[in-house]
Assembly symmetry: C2
Homo-oligomer: 142 residues x 2
DNA sequence: TTTAACTGTAACAAATATAATAACAGTATG
DNA sequence: CATACTGTTATTATATTTGTTACAGTTAAA
């Protein structure tokens, strides 16, 4: 799975965790442990989907624009990683005489698409707030 | 998802399709459209799981050793790709003071493991014989 | 008993994908 | 108008995936 999904989830959970629900790309990048530029790219995608709003210029940054209890990981997956389940490599060759060789890619493609739909159903169950809760639970277990 | 899974499924479907249920790595590689060496590596794994038997030497090759109606894609996934759902990259840092930063990796890890279990449940439904059937159906649609 | 056709495996090279970094235009604030 | 931000693209570095070669071991048949 695409790691932009991980960055998006982490960033939204971080914003949900902060009392003011705000942070700059530098702050998020430090928390996520990646480069601010990468955070900005992912957050740009989150903004386009409406989960956050951004404020440019001095004193700007990112602010949560959704209820963490209403946004599920499925929606974040759709925004960041849809289609990433299917491997880029595919087997067979369409112009082969063999039935298996020339139809396998299509059949596998269908299997991967269905699998991704199943994944979305599973991810639907977990909301941003649930992730934050689990993070807090994990802390207590230390 | 790992493409060894695709190669394994394609190879088993190809063996199931052949009337004698036998083929060499060269034949399979040509059908799958990859290198014989790669096929041998994946088939070696299939042999260890018991889905095929191999015969070395002249006139040797691979032979199906299971009922295609009983082996599901879940079993093949388990043999070839278990754990590949989780991205190798992970966010946060365990030694950070922030609760989110230091627990996020663990929480995401858990989410990916559960997601993989869900995937296995879905793959369980599809048997080698079903894939072959779909391949034949796809051919008819041409 | 030698040769040819096969698998098993490891090592290496090439191609591709991913992640980090740099650069800079645009924007808002004081 | 200087400063601190985002948005975006381009480039470089790193990791992963795939292809290829090589060769030892195995078996069957000439």
């Amino acid at each position: 799975m695409n790691s932009e999904f991980t960055i998006a989830v982490h960033s939204l959970v971080f914003l949900a965790y902060k009392t003011d629900h705000m942070a700059t790309s530098d702050m998020i990048a430090h928390n996520v442990n990646t480069h601010p530029s990468r955070v900005r790219k992912v957050m740009s995608c989150m903004r386009k989907s409406g989960y956050i709003v951004t404020k440019e210029g001095l004193g700007g940054g990112y602010m949560l624009n959704c209820n963490p209890e209403e946004v599920s990981l499925a929606e974040i997956y759709r925004a960041t990683s849809i289609g990433s389940m299917k491997p880029s490599w595919c087997s067979g060759k369409v112009d082969e005489a063999c039935v298996v060789a020339c139809n396998m890619a299509e059949v596998m493609d269908h299997i991967f698409c269905d699998a991704e739909q199943q994944l979305l159903i599973y991810l639907q169950q977990t909301k941003i707030s649930d992730v934050l809760e689990r993070v807090r639970d994990a802390q207590i277990q230390r």
